[in-house]
Symmetry: D2
Subunit: 162 residues, 4 copies
């Protein structure tokens, strides 16, 4: 199930998230089936699909924290989303269709942004590590088609602190 | 066309690829239409689609260097692909459906891996920067379902040096 | 939750699968969360994502019938897959991110092909109906890169009859 | 390049669009590179990707007819899109990564809907045929989150008639 470990190939590896989620308040974990549609002609996950999986994990964590679906949140808190500002990921072991992987997600609150870390594992072995920084944005009142970042409202922060 | 700049939000920004592609031998540039299907309910590109765009840009650059499609390359050089080992990206300005963006890609050769840098821009302004490290892998002779990394063959290196 | 019903617009509507799954031996039902990533700038599911959902529903039904994941099935029954030969779908009511829909799937066995019907519903109301015909293929012994259809083996048929 | 022809497997085949586009006013043709990301572990296009390709072909044809991008059209004609009401497709020959296919698209105007036919071919041989019926919708004035169909405005009809 674990075709290759190419971690050792790199002299200056990505900083390992050895202390994964350490000190964070919010965590979530979910099981994900690797579908045929996620995989490429090499039979392993086409890596942009991992980002789709992580995006859904972020949404699941935030939905759990706020007690609202994204659709409800957008109405309740009058914001326009939390687009990604930057991400980085390390692909340690491939996964393939039929694998049931676990995605552990943790959350660290900032002022106008937050950081999410994901670890995707199979049978307890880490396959992918990813970190994201996202910003809280609202529609620009001067131009409905544009967005601007804004401090995360206190009503939201309170939920994230639990 | 450029809804927001959230670059300035971060105290310790991603290292800018200011010297983008500096010193690299291989480059490629292509125009990409941002399709409706790439965009999310906020009307902007759903970020995993950028990685699909970058993956195709990497393939286009390598195809140009080798003079072979990926399908032909896999047969000619008897390898199994060049999966991603790690990536990082910074999302500076959103793009939306109907935008015609330019993706500039550059390539740096390693021993058993290579590094690719992509810059996606609209009207000359950088929207997304991404770097990837990919490894050259072959099927494991002991287990056809597994892969192992291997030095990039000299016949390939010669093409990449041009 | 049900933005529009455009069924009545058509004089000669798609044959309704009113007798959905009638007389079929195999059925499966699964709940699917409509993710942000499935939706387009109109805020509703981008329709090719429904086909991804249906493809996974087909795989889930077959996996349940055979007691094997797709990955295991390909090895056990020495075939190359069950590609789609034709499909048709009717989109009756949109769904949007955050919706928890139900996909009911039924299966009818043919000689070298099978037919699958999917009904995706929200709160008991049908949103999408889809039927698929898939063929059982093996690799062409004369050319490993090509496929040819073949009667579904008896060992598989027996499982599908249950 | 043409792995299998499973057309002959079906006693009652899909109505062939032998008279493809016959009598229609609008047509468009575009070349599409089949990317690695479109293909599944069997090495051929994962069929929902064909619908993404066709959706972009529809957008390209309409953009050409109206002389406006989708983004501009939504503003200019004050509508909310042209969601799919029904589609059907027949998959005749697989295509794989590296293939450069041609998509021919034709358009037939209705009152509040229109029909699109796509033929995807490789080296002159038809690989996929697809027809779509789409409806013209506006936001429901009583509920911004809902849509309703509406006759296609005369200003648009005039462009489609050319």
């Amino acid at each position: 199930m674990i075709p290759v470990d190419w971690k050792s190939l790199f002299e200056a590896p990505f900083a390992s998230t050895g202390s994964f989620g350490h000190g964070t308040a919010l965590r979530n974990s979910r099981r994900v089936r690797i579908e045929w549609s996620y995989c490429d002609p090499a039979g392993i996950v086409f890596y942009p699909r991992y980002f789709e999986i992580f995006d859904a994990s972020t949404a699941a964590l935030i939905e759990r924290a706020l007690g609202l679906t994204m659709f409800q949140s957008l109405k309740t808190f009058d914001f326009a989303g939390y687009p990604l500002a930057r991400t980085r990921a390390q692909f340690i072991r491939p996964t393939r269709y039929g694998d049931d992987v676990v995605v552990d997600t943790s959350f660290t609150l900032g002022r106008a942004s937050f950081t999410i870390e994901h670890r995707l594992s199979l049978d307890g072995l880490t396959c992918v590590e990813c970190s994201e920084t996202r910003v809280w944005v609202v529609r620009n009142p001067d131009d409905a088609g544009r967005y601007k970042s804004q401090p995360i409202p206190e009503a939201v922060r309170a939920k994230f602190r639990v």
